[in-house]
């Protein structure tokens, strides 16, 4: 599989409202995405996962570091070439309402990206919009309705249809099922999987939901306070986490299994995620980590490939975490 996206030491900083301080939303993240894969990013609120997703589709310009889309840094391109490149990299957001104009018919909303491109006649564009709507499971008559006449799941289908009209190569899915009920969520996840097979799409799947991310992803990155702490194949993350934060996340998730199939021992995290304005020195997770030692505050752990394809940023990964997981 060839590389579609390459991110190197990406940083995105925002000034605070007073302007005197800096929020380091993304603070040094490196990874590559292969064509056709689903790359999951999991993290809690404030981890920087949405900021990262917006950066990949050029909605936010990196403060430092580089982003390469198909071997090209989009910010070296001129206006027209930049827009053409960006067309291949699309995003779907969490709130299906906020993304749709309440005064436009569904068909018009889906057609709008094509109108902007100005491809073909209006009739052709309409036909394409209707075809795409049908592909996401909405019959022709839905095209004549307005957003308020649709359920949340149906609106999310419309948002998917909108970006499909552009035949993108990559879709950033930012908490796309978080607002949906579980039975509807299953339908939408199945739709994403079908579309990936049919169109060879690559997904950057951002979510706080471990169940969702491990179901759909090939690889998973775990994000904490602006940095990746671990990156590995989905199975490896779920079955044998190397970073204490990954372990705590897995352990915190409530499991819908009868009591005799659940383990009661839970790794409980104390306290809350620190402020991204002044993250802790050294390892950012050390303030909540049960394995923290002196070295963790003195020295930032390197992002290293501990095993082939398994990256982790922890001084003790590989020894102490394993011991901590009593099996």
């Amino acid at each position: 599989m060839s590389t579609l996206v390459e991110v190197t030491d990406l940083r995105i900083h925002f000034p605070t409202s007073g302007g005197s301080e800096t929020v380091k939303a993304v603070d040094g993240v490196s990874f590559t995405m292969r064509r056709g894969e689903t790359f999951g990013v999991i993290g809690e609120s404030g981890s920087g996962k949405s900021t990262l997703g917006r950066a990949v589709v050029c909605l936010l310009k990196p403060t430092a570091g580089t982003l390469k889309l198909e071997d090209t840094d989009p910010y070296t391109l001129g206006g027209a070439a930049f827009r053409r490149k960006r067309r291949d990299f699309q995003i779907v957001f969490q709130d299906p309402n906020a993304a749709l104009n309440p005064r436009m018919r569904i068909r018009e909303s889906v057609r709008e990206p094509l109108d902007i491109l100005g491809e073909g006649t209006r009739a052709e564009r309409n036909a394409r919009a209707v075809a795409v709507l049908e592909r996401v499971g909405l019959s022709r008559e839905f095209g004549e309705r307005y957003p308020h006449e649709l359920s949340g799941g149906q609106k999310q289908r419309v948002n998917i249809a909108r970006i499909l009209t552009l035949r993108p190569k990559l879709v950033v899915c930012d908490e796309v099922v978080a607002a949906l009920d579980v039975s509807i969520q299953a339908d939408i996840l199945n739709l994403f999987a079908d579309l990936q097979r049919e169109f060879g799409l690559t997904y950057l799947f951002i979510t706080h939901d471990l169940g969702v991310v491990s179901h759909i992803s090939d690889r998973i990155a775990v994000m904490y306070l602006g940095k990746f702490v671990e990156l590995a194949d989905a199975d490896a993350i779920a079955e044998r986490p190397l970073h204490p934060y990954t372990e705590a996340l897995l352990s915190a998730e409530p499991v819908p299994l009868p009591s005799h199939l659940r383990t009661d021992e839970r790794v409980m995290l104390e306290g809350e995620i620190p402020s991204p304005i002044s993250p802790p020195s050294g390892c950012r997770f050390r303030t909540r980590c049960r394995f923290a030692q002196d070295i963790c505050s003195a020295q930032e752990p390197a992002w290293r490939e501990l095993e082939p394809g398994r990256f982790v940023a922890c001084h003790f990964a590989g020894d102490v975490t394993q011991k901590g997981r009593t099996k």
């Binding site: 039975s183 299994l257 009868p258």
Partner: protein, 334 residues
């Protein structure tokens, strides 16, 4: 639990029907909702948006809008029908006998009063104690819900607290008068998963320590599995299943409970197609006759066109499905 209090429920809801007057006429949000909560018991209500779980919780405390709603049936609390109480009598129940916490603590807390004032307010209203003593008790209450530096936090305003701390403060307010029943409506939905785990543990601990019964309303079956001993599944305004949690997860007796469980991603093999429930929840104004789940059910039969009642499956479980005895439905473990 002794045999005596097992026989007398703390809360006994019978045939609860909640109606709302709308421009398009009256709609029925819940129908024939019947269940009981025993003293100290932890009961979960699970269901998707619009199933009637939240209005059921609100109706118990008499918090539905008076002008636009009508509640039929009985809500017996220690044998007394709450629906028959005057507004004045109901105020003595609220906060003292029964408390409620909500999903969004920021909208439930008053932004212009300190946390300590808001805890003290409950105490002064119900226990008539002095301001100074109320403050002391508020500090104790904050310590009990695991808020660090309670003596300092007591003088802070809601906006100075994080989401998890606000939810802890809400729990402190709800429990300060040692109510017999706490209704928790999606109390962890807005929280991150590591904070959610803290709040679930806290509610579990407090409930086992003080003997406060818990009615836990949520869409998350995982949360129910980890907190409750019994669960009610609601669909389209009706209770469709009432069973011990482990039994319901292992072998659900209603096709909807089974469908909900099967659609949870973590119970399916990775990268496989998730079993989903076809169709969507019917609108309140357009309920199908007979079994309300029938249009989406894979097990529909001619007898399902009759109105369904909750039938006894065994001593401690009931299901609103005429076919329950003849169906073998997959649960959390297929």
């Amino acid at each position: 639990m002794t045999a005596a209090n097992a026989a007398t429920p703390l809360l006994d809801v019978r045939g609860l029907g909640i109606h709302f007057r709308t421009e398009a006429g009256e709609v029925q949000a819940t129908r024939d909702v019947t269940f009981a909560v025993r003293p100290g018991e932890r009961v979960g209500i699970v269901g998707e948006s619009g199933c009637g779980k939240t209005v059921t919780g609100l109706s118990i405390l008499g918090l539905l809008p008076r002008r636009s709603s009508r509640v039929a049936g009985q809500i017996l609390f220690e044998g007394r029908d709450l629906l028959a109480l005057s507004a004045r009598e109901m105020r003595k129940v609220r906060g003292r006998q029964i408390s409620m916490i909500f999903q969004e603590p920021m909208s439930a807390l008053d932004p212009v009063f300190t946390i300590g004032h808001q805890i003290g307010e409950t105490l002064r209203a119900h226990r008539g104690i002095a301001k100074k003593e109320a403050r002391e008790r508020a500090i104790e209450a904050l310590a009990q819900v695991g808020i660090p530096l309670p003596a300092r936090r007591v003088d802070e305003y809601p906006h100075q607290l994080s989401g998890g701390m606000r939810q802890r403060a809400m729990i402190a307010i709800a429990l300060v008068c040692e109510p017999k029943l706490l209704i928790a409506d999606e109390p962890t939905t807005a929280l991150d998963v590591t904070i959610q785990a803290q709040i679930i543990d806290l509610l579990f601990d407090l409930s086992s320590r003080t003997g406060t019964a818990l009615l836990f309303i949520t869409h998350d079956l995982g949360v129910i599995a980890e907190t409750c001993t019994r669960m009610l599944t609601m669909y389209a305004g009706e209770v469709v299943e009432d069973a011990p949690v482990d039994a319901a997860l292992e072998r659900p007796r209603h096709p909807y409970t089974s469908g909900l469980l099967r659609s949870i991603p973590r119970l399916s093999k990775r990268k496989t197609t998730l079993p989903s429930i076809p169709g969507r929840v019917p609108s309140l104004a357009d309920m199908p006759a007979g079994c309300r789940f029938r249009p989406r059910c894979a097990h529909g039969a001619p007898e399902c066109t009759a109105t369904q009642t909750l039938v006894d499956v065994s001593d401690d479980r009931r299901a609103r499905c005429i076919r329950q005895a003849s169906l073998t439905l997959p649960g959390a473990v297929a």
